[in-house]
């Protein structure tokens, strides 16, 4: 009972500390000469766009009801057009391509577009990275020196150089040689980078499986492929799920670096907005928050998967 009470006290303390830090940031930021323009920020995520509606026919405006214009054409027919904000009145004569008014439509702002780009890059990079990681991880534990040394060389090269440099090499060198689109180069660089880490995770996962599992499987007559597919990998993947998910989260964050080769991801979108608005504080906070939404969603999903897979062990 007392430990419960203590836990509650400490949780209250936590909330107080967080509020304190927030207040400190607020006070210190209000001392610098900076005009906060938070109200502009939502429009960078979604905004209402005006879509002009031109008249498709020649005729006279007969009526306007339920957001619809009724236009009587020259041959006596009635044409019904949806216009939310009409700029013509009953009785007006309209010609083809005359503007009747406009509709409002929600459109993704640059930050949301950037978020989609980040998601797209990360999604494809994760798929390719997992394939590279699987193959390299298996090569890494192979008894064949060629395969093993290839895997070790790749892993050491990639882990020993900065991602930013790799992206430049991928884009300016490999991309030029093979005429790669910048998006392909960006996804490729990310996948090759994270693949090396995933390979090591997979290697560790496979090696952590008790050797008795292998012996039992092959003594039942399974071949290498069946052993890996049915016995080793399902257990290794389950065991490495937290580490792999952590790597996916790293990948999403690392994807911000592809903005250096002019891919308009979330980070680049943020930079572009700042050059026109001069509101770096709000935009960077928003960008950080949007990354956090992505990574935290992934983290929650992994926790759910872990709980589901926990059965049986």
């Amino acid at each position: 009972m007392s430990t419960k009470k203590n836990a509650l006290l400490w949780n209250i303390a936590y909330v107080i500390v967080i509020i304190g830090i927030g207040y400190f940031i607020y006070v210190s930021s209000s001392k610098v000469n900076y005009i906060w323009r938070w109200k502009n920020v939502p429009s960078f995520i979604v905004y209402k766009a005006h879509i002009d509606i031109d008249s498709p026919v020649k005729g006279i405006v007969q009526d306007y009801k339920d957001h619809k214009l009724y236009i009587k054409t020259l041959d006596g027919k009635i044409k019904i057009i949806k216009v939310e904000h009409p700029e013509v009145k009953k009785g007006d004569v309209v010609d083809t391509t005359d503007e009747l008014g406009y509709n409002e439509k929600y459109k993704s702002g640059p930050l949301l577009m950037g978020l989609f780009m980040t998601l797209k890059i990360s999604f494809f990079a994760i798929i390719v990275a997992v394939i590279i990681g699987l193959v390299t991880g298996l090569m890494r534990i192979s008894s064949n020196p060629l395969l093993k040394n290839m895997a070790i060389t790749y892993i050491e090269l990639i882990r020993g150089t900065p991602l930013l440099v790799q992206i430049f090499i991928f884009y300016f060198f490999i991309g030029t040689v093979f005429h790669l689109d910048r998006l392909v180069a960006g996804v490729g660089a990310l996948a090759v980078f994270e693949g090396a880490y995933i390979a090591e995770i997979i290697r560790a996962g496979i090696q952590s499986i008790d050797k008795g599992q292998r012996e039992a499987a092959i003594s039942l007559g399974m071949n290498y492929y069946q052993l890996m597919k049915h016995i080793i990998m399902p257990q290794a993947i389950k065991r490495t799920l937290p580490a792999t998910a952590g790597q996916f989260i790293s990948l999403i964050k690392d994807s911000s670096l592809v903005s250096v080769i002019s891919i308009t991801d979330l980070t680049k979108a943020g930079r572009e907005i700042i050059t026109s608005t001069f509101s770096p504080f709000e935009i960077w906070f928003t960008v950080a928050f949007m990354y956090l939404v992505l990574t935290y969603t992934l983290s929650l999903f992994t926790q759910y998967l872990e709980r589901r897979m926990a059965k049986g062990e």
Partner: protein, 244 residues
């Protein structure tokens, strides 16, 4: 009766320099139950593991049911599926249910359809007295129950030979009996069995021949009566006096 296992002058030295097998020769008849005894490190488990080539040999030949398994050209997967093996630590697949443990290799190795595999599995789980646990995962079972599932898993391949590698050594004493009972009933059915064990009662009661190994060599082979009452070698007498 014909020999189903022929072991001819095999040698095995581990990378760390330990000579596990030195010139071992042994034949096993079809339907025979051979128990291998000896102190730990005597090479008895290694000998058993060479039979399905979990361990390779450096020199010598092993012929199982007419096929030379020590020949590098022999495709081992087919012959391995004919040799059931039961391990000290059960080695059940923890991510599969009891039923899936018994059906998986039937489906992917023997290419039986799922329904047939499940029928065979349930029949065998019934036989080892654990059919009511077919849907649970291995970790929810006791050691004795897990080992009985492992025996059913091996039997599901319809093997010609069963190998038992200290199958009861990791069990709590009260669970040893239930596993030995399954092994005894198998022996009665005429299964060819090679059993590495410390259970001298089982050896006495069930085996046709007892093989005593010491320092990688077979020191003495004989019927239970001769081995237990009339051991020729000093080393065997010493071993028995320590264990009995």
């Amino acid at each position: 009766m014909s020999n189903i296992i022929e072991i001819k002058n095999i040698y095995k030295t581990f990378p760390n320099g330990v000579e596990a097998l030195k010139d071992v020769t042994l034949d096993v008849l079809k339907g025979e139950v051979v128990v291998v005894i000896g102190a730990s490190g005597s090479g008895k488990s290694t000998l058993l593991r060479t039979l399905n080539q979990l361990e390779t040999v450096d020199k010598g030949k092993i012929i199982i049911d007419g096929i030379e398994v020590t020949n590098p050209k022999t495709k081992l997967t087919a012959i391995r599926s004919e040799i059931g093996m039961v391990f000290q630590h059960f080695n059940l697949f923890p991510h599969l249910t009891v039923l899936e443990n018994v059906t998986l290799a039937q489906i992917i190795v023997k290419k039986r359809n799922k329904q047939e595999a499940e029928e065979i599995a349930m029949e065998l789980l019934n036989k080892v007295g654990i059919a009511d646990k077919s849907g649970v995962y291995p970790t929810q079972l006791s050691g004795g129950q897990q080992q009985r599932v492992a025996i059913a898993r091996a039997l599901a391949m319809k093997p010609k030979i069963m190998l038992f590698d200290e199958a009861t050594s990791a069990l709590d004493p009260e669970m040893v009996g239930e596993v030995l009972d399954v092994m005894k009933s198998l022996a009665k059915e005429g299964m060819t069995m090679v059993v590495v064990t410390h259970e001298m009662g089982f050896a006495k009661e069930v085996s046709e021949r007892i093989v005593f190994m010491d320092h990688g060599q077979i020191v003495e082979i004989g019927t239970p009566e001769t081995v237990f009452t009339n051991a020729k070698s000093e080393r065997l007498r010493q071993f028995l006096s320590q264990i009995l």
